[in-house]
């Protein structure tokens, strides 16, 4: 199940490993993406930390970690072709995986329906 933050990140939990990306809505709003800075594997992050940056033609947008823990891997492959990051490929365009210190941290996040209501 995907859970969403108010900043348009999603996280999918598998055991205590969360895969993090940004929503189709966020990808659409960013427009043409021209540069991405990803976090480094091994880094320790806290919920709400700015951990990645998406640069579009017009603006830079911070991406915040929806969870506290250690970054275990990052999706370097997505950097090979930034034009492949499209709203219909939001799950393939995951950014990083994080080993959560406390999975209950996600309890307050939105489910699909609540997120859809927020952006409508």
């Amino acid at each position: 199940m995907l859970r969403y933050s108010e900043d348009h990140e999603w996280i999918q939990l598998d055991g205590d490993i969360g895969t993090v990306g940004i929503s189709p809505h966020a990808i659409e709003q960013l427009g043409d993406i021209v540069f991405i800075e990803l976090p480094e594997a091994g880094a320790t992050v806290s919920k709400g930390d700015a951990v990645a940056v998406f640069e579009s033609v017009k603006a830079a947008s911070d991406i915040y970690s929806p969870a506290t823990g250690e970054i275990t891997s990052v999706n370097e492959a997505m950097l090979d072709d930034l034009t492949s990051i499209t709203p219909d490929r939001a799950t393939e365009s995951w950014l990083f995986k994080v080993k959560l210190s406390d999975t209950s941290e996600l309890d307050e996040m939105m489910d699909e329906a609540a997120y859809a209501a927020m952006i409508s």
């Binding site: 043409d32 640069e55 017009k58 830079a60």
Partner: protein
């Protein structure tokens, strides 16, 4: 306060535009194709922009030339009927209050000024009126479309316009689909192109006719900004403001010879000093290394000392790379000079480059 809408608001919505507030107007920043695709379409074909937010002002009467000569460094005598000049409203210290186009057409002067500066400019013109024989008329019931790109002339030719001998910075009256239009061969993209003024009531007909063609791409303000940045064309509030004079901004061409020799325009003393001895600061192109754009307002640093700032920064689709314009101390304006752009705790090395990034392709007279 509600933002103003151009006559093409419904057209933009119908074409899927993302609307944003800009200078008190609701304007399309992009359509579904996106800024890069729109930008590249303008460089390769023909692109349609709604620029109706810009103010169209007519100045007529015996004192019209004197009024404009008082407020700009332009030689009004040198603007023949049917011609357009780029000009600047200057302040007492030579700073730029706004940049504008001045056309002489059918006996009157026709100005086009920036949307965000229109109210200021109209007050400025009225404040300097002398006598009763000069009239200022704001044409707020007119729309303005820009058709830009190497394919623009072909599109208008197909629609019956005879453009033979109509060259860069000409103005004329043409019938387009039964609508009377005042057209200039000018623009803000560095490409050949046209700006087409018509009654607001006819704008949707003309825009729909143009947009329906396979060889015309509709573009928003996002692409307009990346196109003008690549072309090295200044934007007021970024490359131009009250503290930046035309010599610093690389606009020596806008200072007419007769006016320089007379030294009789506002701010002439400071501007002519900079003309002779060089300005302290100069606008330059900047090419960031590493693929990451630098943005407006970013400080530029050399050896730990602030030496300037980025005035416009983003991504240049025609270069497929980030690019920017910045104001730097003049001794650092040499192409190739490496500077540090420091933003949000990150440092990017940028190299000074010549402007424009993309050569202008205007169709000039012989």
């Amino acid at each position: 306060m509600e933002n103003r809408r151009t006559p093409l608001y419904d057209f933009h919505i119908a074409h899927g535009a993302r609307m944003v507030p800009f200078a008190g107007w609701d304007m399309p920043v992009q359509y579904p194709a996106g800024i890069k695709a729109e930008h590249l379409a303008c460089r390769s074909g023909a692109a349609l922009f709604d620029v109706s937010h810009m103010a169209q002002i007519e100045v007529n009467g015996d004192g019209a030339d004197a009024l404009l000569e008082r407020l700009t460094p332009t030689d009004l005598e040198a603007i023949k009927d049917g011609r357009v000049r780029y000009s600047l409203f200057l302040n007492e210290t030579g700073g730029v209050l706004d940049d504008l186009m001045i056309a002489r057409f059918e006996g009157a002067l026709h100005l086009v000024v920036n949307a965000g500066r229109a109210a200021h400019d109209i007050s400025h013109l009225k404040a300097h009126l002398i006598g009763a024989d000069t009239r200022i008329k704001v044409h707020d019931k007119r729309a303005l479309l820009a058709l830009q790109g190497p394919g623009a002339a072909t599109v208008l030719g197909d629609l019956g316009l005879d453009l033979d001998g109509f060259v860069f910075m000409d103005i004329g009256r043409f019938m387009l689909a039964g609508v009377e239009c005042v057209v200039t061969r000018s623009g803000y993209t560095g490409e050949d192109g046209f700006e087409i003024s018509m009654a607001a009531s006819a704008a949707e007909t003309i825009a729909t006719l143009l947009a329906a063609r396979d060889d015309v791409f509709i573009c928003g303000l996002g692409a307009r900004d990346t196109l003008r940045m690549e072309a090295g064309l200044p934007l007021w509030g970024h490359e131009l403001d009250e503290t930046i004079n035309p010599v610093m901004a690389g606009l020596r061409f806008a200072l007419s010879k007769r006016r320089r020799e007379a030294g009789d325009f506002l701010g002439a003393k400071q501007i002519l000093q900079d003309w002779d001895f060089g300005p302290k600061r100069t606008l330059v192109g900047l090419l960031p290394t590493g693929g990451r754009p630098v943005r407006d307002g970013t400080k530029l640093i050399m050896d730990g000392t602030p030496v300037g700032s980025v005035t416009s920064g983003g991504f240049a689709p025609s270069l497929d790379a980030p690019a920017a314009i910045g104001l730097v101390e003049s001794q650092l304006a040499e192409p190739g000079t490496a500077l540090i752009a420091a933003t949000r705790g990150r440092e990017t090395t940028v190299h000074v480059a010549c402007l424009p990034f993309v050569p202008h392709r205007y169709v000039r007279g012989s």
